[in-house]
């Protein structure tokens, strides 16, 4: 079994139970364990009993902020456990006017990064019984004994180059901050793709996108996708056809990414949610990179007060096309 880190779960539970049981919040959005030790799923806690199930381990990847969209219809005040990305997601929703700050209490969880089950399995090279963690290392319990690995090598893609593991907004910070990170390889794949010829790049994307099922998990998991009706479903005009043609694949994915311009918080939930592993985050990161280059550094979700780059302009802005 994975080390449950009883101590930290207790600390989280302690922090929230007073508010939940004392009526300061009506609902707590947290995580509980799923069927497997490597799955932690959303928990909607309203009672002490619910809180018993609370989990805080290396598999709490699900971004909980998005649930506020629905749950705030039924609750006056909600507590949410937020990692760095969840907090940025909250700011995103705040900026999109989807939530009000005073409706929510944020319990900040500085995040060490979440582990990727597939990487663990790969590392184990066979049946994996469980893991224990200590000091940035992961010990894999495999049938033949134990195997040790660097934790950083086993992170989810979305966590690998996370720059802001600490919540940018919170009411209460439950652990000591991790500190801002470099994320040196954040744009590595983007840059590699940029190096390719247009033909190669098109081929790359055509192949990757060909797997798309149009399940819209990327959209549903995304904190910037908060439209009531997505362009995909609109009838007049019919922006997006339902066919699985390459042309329709590009339409959906380019527009999805474009709609995140200056809005994507780089949480990577889109990519994590994708059942066929399309590298969606690279499209988002391309836009982040370009916006930063063209219109100055902007990290969506870090500061809800800062105007998103597509909602403002400067008369002397540069352009990606000739202005002569």
């Amino acid at each position: 079994m994975a080390e449950r880190n009883i101590e930290s779960v207790n600390k989280v539970r302690e922090a929230v139970s007073q508010d939940l049981l004392g009526g300061r919040i009506d609902l707590l959005l947290g995580w509980e364990k799923g069927h497997y030790w490597w799955q932690s799923r959303p928990l909607f806690a309203r009672s002490e009993e619910d809180l018993e199930k609370l989990a805080w381990d290396s598999f709490c990847a699900v971004n909980l902020s998005r649930y506020l969209l629905e749950e705030l219809k039924d609750h006056d005040k909600i507590g949410v456990l937020v990692k760095g990305c969840d907090a940025r997601a909250f700011n995103r929703l705040l900026q999109d006017n989807m939530v009000k700050r005073d409706q929510v209490i944020l319990y900040g969880l500085p995040c060490p990064g979440m582990l990727d089950y597939n990487r663990l399995i790969e590392k184990a090279g066979g049946a994996l019984l469980g893991i224990t963690e200590e000091n940035g290392r992961v010990i894999l319990n495999i049938e033949s004994g134990e195997q040790e690995a660097q934790r950083d090598d086993l992170l989810l893609d979305k966590c690998k180059d996370c720059r802001y593991p600490d919540p940018a907004v919170y009411d209460q910070l439950l652990f000591s901050p991790q500190g801002e990170k470099e994320g040196p390889e954040r744009f590595k794949t983007v840059e590699e793709l940029e190096e390719m010829s247009a033909e190669e790049r098109f081929g790359y994307w055509e192949k990757e996108l060909s797997r798309c099922l149009r399940c819209y998990a990327c959209r549903q998991a995304c904190p910037f996708c908060s439209c009531r009706e997505c362009f995909v479903e609109q009838e007049n005009p019919r922006w997006q056809g339902r066919a699985y043609q390459p042309s329709e694949n590009f339409m959906f994915h380019l527009v999805r990414a474009y709609h995140g311009t200056g809005r994507c918080i780089d949480c990577g939930e889109c990519e994590r949610s994708c059942p066929v592993d399309i590298p969606l985050q690279e499209l988002n990161r391309k836009l982040i990179k370009d916006i930063n280059e063209l219109y100055g550094d902007y990290e969506a979700g870090l500061d809800a007060e800062q105007e998103p780059p597509l909602l403002t302009y400067r008369p002397d802005d540069p352009a990606a096309f000739s202005e002569k």
């Binding site: 219809k73 999109d96 006017n97 989807m98 908060s226 439209c227 009531r228 009706e229 997505c230 362009f231 609109q234 007049n236 005009p237 922006w239 709609h259 105007e307 998103p308 597509l310 909602l311 403002t312 008369p315």
Partner: protein, 661 residues
Amino acid sequence: MPRTGVFICHCGSNIAGTVDIDKTVEASRNFPGVVHADEYRYLCSEMGQDIITKAIKENDLDRVVVGTCSPRMHENTFRKAAAEAGLNPYLLEVANIREHCSWVHKDMEEATPKAIALLRAAAAKAALNEALEAPRLDVEKRALVIGGGIAGIQAALDIAEAGYVVDIVEKDPSIGGRMAQLEKTFPTLDCSACILTPKMVEAAQHPNINLLTYSEVDEVKGFVGQFDVKIKQKARYVDPVKCTGCGICWEKCPSKASSEFEMGLAKRKSIYVPFAQAVPMVPVIDRDSCLYFRKGRCQICEQECPPQAIDYEQQDEIIERRYGAIVVATGFDQLDPTIYGEYGYGQHPDILTGLEFERIFNASGPTGGKVVKLSDGKPPKKVVFIQCIGSRDKARGMNYCSKICCMYTAKQAILLKEKVPDAKSYVFYIDVRTGGKGYEEFQRRAAEEYDVAYMRGQVGKIFPEDDHLVVRGIDSLTNRNIEIKADMVVLAAATVARADAPEVGRLVGINSDSYHFFNEAHPKLKPVETHTAGIFIAGACQAPKDIPETVSQASAAAVKAIGLLSKEKLQGEACTAEVIQSECSGCLNCEAICPYTAITPVEIEERYKDGVLKRTVAEVNPALCQGCGSCAVTCRSGSINLKGFSNDQIMAEVDAICLQR
């Protein structure tokens, strides 16, 4: 399915010469929804319009497509024709098969298929057109003039004379502007103050004019006919009603500050009027230098003021008013030549700008009208004028010509000779530009009768040596180096936009060129209009100008404003944005980007489970919306759309155009 009629114009041979009309008509018949197609030699003629109206009635058409010249030309003509037949005019679409087709393509083989494609797109769009109604808007019969210089004064007087109330907002304590700072005006050499002050007084006394001096525009909302403006009237600390303008206060005031009016060449008191003929003759207290405000003691002015007009407790006041039209006449600044180190400006008291020199001539100026060097009080015997400081200087400054320098330099050289008969003037110039009535003659006089030496060339360095200034330059005609030992140097610094012009532009919603001069709507045909309806520009805020040009432009702007104010109602924009509130998620990104503050949040109620849920969505004020459609692009879910250029209309055009390759 719509019932569309297509009408194609030959425009004599203008279209028919390059577009096969028969083929085009035939092709049009096969477009979806087209039930009638026809052609005519001149569709815009009475006869042509009749053909359309008749066909609409006879064939029960509910959409019309005309293949004609540019919609910018005759869209309205045809819309009226459609309206005559009882059709909503917005159900008509124009396919531009002249300017965008027959005139730019060489033969029928090229132009005909393209004309068909454009018509097909227009028909596809028309099928989705909806009947639209342009809102009828009220006009507030009051004008605002921003800037109380000669342009503003003239515009205000003209508007007031036509019977409309005008407010002049001037940020300085007195109206008068730059013209008040001038000594004499070219080419007639009449005294600037003598011709200006009567106008200032006339403006002050005009029953239809309100002067709001020492005031600034804080906010402009609304739209043509109904601009809601907030004006900040800065605290003067003097009650203008009580004040008699007797002058005792500024006489007695013990503290001094540099005089803005005198370009910093002289001091003024902390309580002051900027100049002797100021209108209104009500002083202001400059908080920054006033002893009372700085240190809490003094209060001499308060003690001395006979009518007890001093009021230290006065606060800035916000005046909110609605105006039908706005004239922007904010004037210009002079470039600070410090940036050009080689001229040594700021390093030596005898290196002056043109405007500073202007004050030296003035009887009420820093030298009492005596033309002397500021360094030693002696009259200058050799004065070097250098033209184009910052103007026509691609590398370092502005590309444009400041327009007035050649003339005022000639004027100053003449005046110098008159005041200091043994003085000698040298003018370094690039070109001498004297377009204007009597200008060339005036400049020739300076050169020929007043012994002004014009030298085509550039000055490379100015530095003091002993008791004079060494001016080193090159005569570009002879390519010789020149060195002049001058007593004084006058720099014709460029005429530049006011430092706060970008801010003013943003406030009132007009745009400017790269030098921050405000843009006219059309350089030839709409020289005083801006792209924002109801806002007009006059004077040097648009581009460098001399006084006569400024005054004529001001009157022109006034006429435009008067024309607007005289209307009972204005026709608003029909193609405005519209929110589908049930789909709107209320992110309000549209509100953030709307240039007209036409979008506001509104709370709606929706059924949810067994109860009702309140939520915020966007709402468009169609009177404010000008129909740019940027909101429709910002809205990711397409919940806000632009009537007349809706998402499905544009997509239908794309589809149709791509069908016909």
